[in-house]
Amino acid sequence: MEKKLQDLVDKALSRRSFLAGAGSVAAGTLVAGCSSNTPAATTPPVTTTPAPTTKPALTDADILNFALNLEYLEAEFYLRAATGTGLSATDAGPNAGAVTGGAKLTGTLTATQSNYLNEIAQNELDHVRFLRGALGAVAVSRPVIDLTFFGPLAMVAGITTDTSFNPFTTYANYLIGAFTFEDVGVTAYHGAALLLTSKANLTAGAQIHAVEAYHAASIRAQIVAIDATTTPSPGLTAIANKVSALRGTLGGGMETMLSSTTIVASDSNSIGFKRNTDQVLHIVYGGAGTAGVISKGGFFPNGLNGTITASAK
């Protein structure tokens, strides 16, 4: 683990060079999906990227299973925080991977805080069930998940000097944990939506994408509001921004630093960010984009289940 952390730090330092190479990574986003013949002159000035020719085309099921892995992670996080237990055997699928860490929050929550937590937990559980239902027999089971990775992550982010950070304590710590996931979920679904070929799948992906954005906004607003209305300010925003900076390092930028005047994460045109699967994998595996092919680590010690498991580079 220590070796891995050191790698992370080293890679973090080379962020600049990674960002410089982000363009070519982004080229992987628009995999053969929609063949488009189109009314001319209506295309927004969005940077177009050449379709890659080397990768085998991903199916909708591949993409949805990729999303399902992320939903397993979120559901386990929130359900454990809310109730102390995670997904049922039915919801986790056959031969599901083990989950390390995660517990009912030890801090005392106000009724309002508890209501917020319960809502998100139910939403993420629903997403697991929805995707499993949609995928049917080809749904992947829950991979091995390590919820103690928040500790090393917080250390690398510069939040703590050791790996002791635990989001399953106070509501404030929980918010930082939730913050870690939600904006990533938004960018992942945005990127994934563009890969889906079935209109129905696209609509469903867009529907979940928006739910993650509702969540992300709520978490971001709560963090800012706590800082603004608590004396002395607990400085949660600054902590969240360290997470944000690390995500940007690992996942190709795509971050808007949180403040009371920037709740929404979006680009200069106020268009929400997207990440390709490589960028998402780098974040959840905790490995920078310059680390080469990375296929496991971080929250997923054995990697994701399915066909999208290793970053291209």
Binding site: N118, G133, K199, Q207, H209
Partner: protein, 355 residues
Amino acid sequence: MATQETQLLDEIIVKSRRKMISLGGAALAGLAFTSTAKAQAPALTDADYLNFALNLEYLEGQFYTLATQGKTIDQIGIGIGAGTSATGGGTVTTKGGNNYASCLVPFVNPLVKAYAMETATEEGNHVKFLRSALAAGAVAQPNLDLFNSFNGLITALGIPGLTTFDPFADDASFLLGAYIFEDVGVTAYTGAAAALTVPGNLDAAAGIQGVEAYHAGLIRTTIYGLDQNPAGNMVKSVGLVPMNGLSAVASAISVVRAKLDGTAPSATRMQADDIGIASGSNLQQVMLNGTTNVPASSITNASTTGSINLATSPSTTAGSLVFSRTAAQVLNIVYASPTGKPGGFFPNGLNGNVK
């Protein structure tokens, strides 16, 4: 123990349901007619859908810019004319006989003010982005009404004594005004996404959809949070309410939106395709991974397996997906007309081929 406000909300819901049931046939007939008419028209292009979105962004951009600057978007340099013309767009009707300066909200809560300013910038950016993308094909801003529309909508809520509503009056009123728009924007972009044929357009639409959802989540969290902490540094003005009052009004707005778009409430989904901000004794109940209900907020406007306003519910796989609306359903809402006749926020209808 039901508070006066929650009782009020219950009454509103029951009343709305009855009205919905009695009007259901007519509303559905109107929708069907609209669909038929659309089917005979030539297929809609990406540009048609983006112009549809642009109309909605004009509305949002004007609302937030007036609230935060006391000016219209064209007065701060955002074009509203057809194509690339800066001028030549429709009028904006506001209070004080179009006294735009009077629309500047006297914000008291610094966070609400900051949120309003951020949203104004972002909605303005959406107008600019879509106009840039559509270029010569961009439609002009249609005539907008930010005065009679709000009064009509608030009257439709059926809350006794509430027949006028000035969303620019104060923090709380502004939040409710914003609430009216953001969730609708999410459903509109969600519904349009699958119709787009150019990947780049889908990319942009998904990005804007996400931002609208961030806005909606922000507004709903703010309303709910302030309602739960009335002693906080938030004004509780307009005589609208004590505890849970803002949430109750927001929920009533959701009911009206669902009624306008023609979706019928069900036993487990009394607010049909639009979930209000449940609070107090009306909190939604969810089972999580157990077998008993626990209360939950409803920040996300989405289908859940939990029930709204019901103590028990059959566990269905609703999926926690945000709702999707067709263009016709969105028009019904912004026109405040179950039959899709121009009115409400767009007294002369939208510009473009979706109207």
